[in-house]
């Protein structure tokens, strides 16, 4: 069974770039642009990893992350958070909310790929 990632991001061209990169790495990428029902989408998809933008329409990435961590079955799901807000306070809040990795925009493709590989390997080891 292939590796499955849910990408919650509202910038279509970022979705396209990440989809291209991860697809070539053997991932199935399911993109979603609206924050309001993102938790339900993730629950239904049961992915190996989530890539989550912080500022989303409907519901912020931080709220989505908190909701994910409230779900018993999603508590250990690797979540890579992408954000233009790289302030220490945002990073701290994300860490408190249970983010697995925090990455600020603009990021490099190499960083994203390395983070995805790393998080997936860690999850499989755990």
């Amino acid at each position: 069974m292939g590796r499955h990632v849910v990408l919650v991001e509202d910038e279509p061209n970022i979705i396209e770039a990440i989809r291209f990169l991860l697809t070539r790495e053997g991932w199935t990428v399911e993109a979603h642009s609206d924050g309001s029902d993102a938790v339900e989408v993730i629950k239904a998809a049961n992915p190996d990893l989530v890539i989550l933008d912080l500022m989303l329409p409907g519901k912020s990435g931080m709220e989505i992350l908190k909701d994910l961590r409230d779900e018993e079955c999603l508590r250990n799901l690797p979540v890579l958070m992408l954000t233009a807000r790289g302030q220490a306070r945002d990073r701290e809040m994300a860490e408190k909310a249970g983010v697995s990795r925090f990455m600020t925009k603009p990021f490099s493709n190499t960083e994203v790929l390395a983070a995805v590989r790393d998080l997936h390997a860690q999850a499989n080891q755990g």
Binding site: N13, R85, N109
Partner: protein
Amino acid sequence: MARDTLTGSRIRKRRLFLDLRQAALARQVDISASYLNLIEHNRRRIGGKLLVDIARALGVEPSMLTEGAEVALIATLREAAADAGKPVAELDHADEFAGRFPGWAEVLAGEHRRVASLERTVQVLSDRLTHDPHLAASLHEVLSTAASIRSTASILAETGELEPEWRDRFHRNLNEDSRRLAESSKSLVSFLDQSNTGSVRRGVPQEELEAFFTAHDYHFGSLEQGQASPEELVAASPELQSDAARSTALNALQQYRADAEKMPLAAIAQSLSGGFDPAKLATEFHSDLPQVLRRLAALPEAVLGQPCGLVICDASGAVLLRKPIAGFALPRFGAACPLWPLYTALARPLVPVRRQVIQHGRHAAGFECLAIAWPQTPPDFDRDPVYRAVMLILPLAAVPAEPLAVGSNCRVCAGRDCVARREPSILDEEF
């Protein structure tokens, strides 16, 4: 050296004020004129009986000569030395410095105060960069576009064999994104450059006022219960630093108290339990609608049963008081959107205005705005009334079917073809 090294300067100042010659004063206290001259130039210390005699001859209490306005100056000099961040060997000689070189001491103290004021302005600007939701959103857009460009460009540069379909798609994305980035970053830089001028400083008292109200969650229980006066609340507030902010806060609290006296908390809470109807409340409490709208915004959220925002403006449209509400952006600086029902009400004084609105943007939520303008002065045949307007902002459960689309400030408004637009938006290109 003690603070009394300035005593000589005070003696001289007082003597000159009394138009008394040095020799005459010296004679009165039985010392030589040359010795008095040394005292007056702080070259000789003075105390005991001679101080008492000189004070009596000058018609003042001795303490008036040993302490004076210079205390504040010396304190500022010491503060400047402390803020320099390194030990100043001559710290104990601050009073002597102030006594011997009062002009230079004033210059140094003045510069220290100026530095403190500039530091504060920097703090306000960085706070604004951190907390201004529109600025944050704009920066987020710029960085997201940059992220997209970086990622797409990397794919094009680093992927050896790229299918023509993908390559064309990425080229197209790159072209779109780079155009958006160029325009938006140019507008953003221009916006920041222009913000870093007088308007920020003018905004400082308003910022202090908002910080003061925010610290109290826009509700002053002790004022309503008669446990504190507006003056006491203002005096005790660390948020109100400037005279302008204190004066504005005092006026706002006096109006708050008058509103609360008309509509006590327990009584209005009971009335609200029967439903939300501002017009009915006005009748029930023999109040006018502006009072009711202001009062509703001052109630704890648990009493009102929902969050609410409030804006009060004067006849020029300048915002005097703002209570923010999530989803409805109120500009921190500069003029607000002319389409707000607040301004519709200002153009039609005493006529209540109710509008269901949304703000332009990607995360539009619906709000009901209730507004009315009222004259600040009693009717007078010989004087034109001056109006103020108030607008209560209440969230709607869903976006209304036919809302009035408004903005917050033209610069950060995404609305297109707006007849009320004053200047271009930094959110062009669909931002």
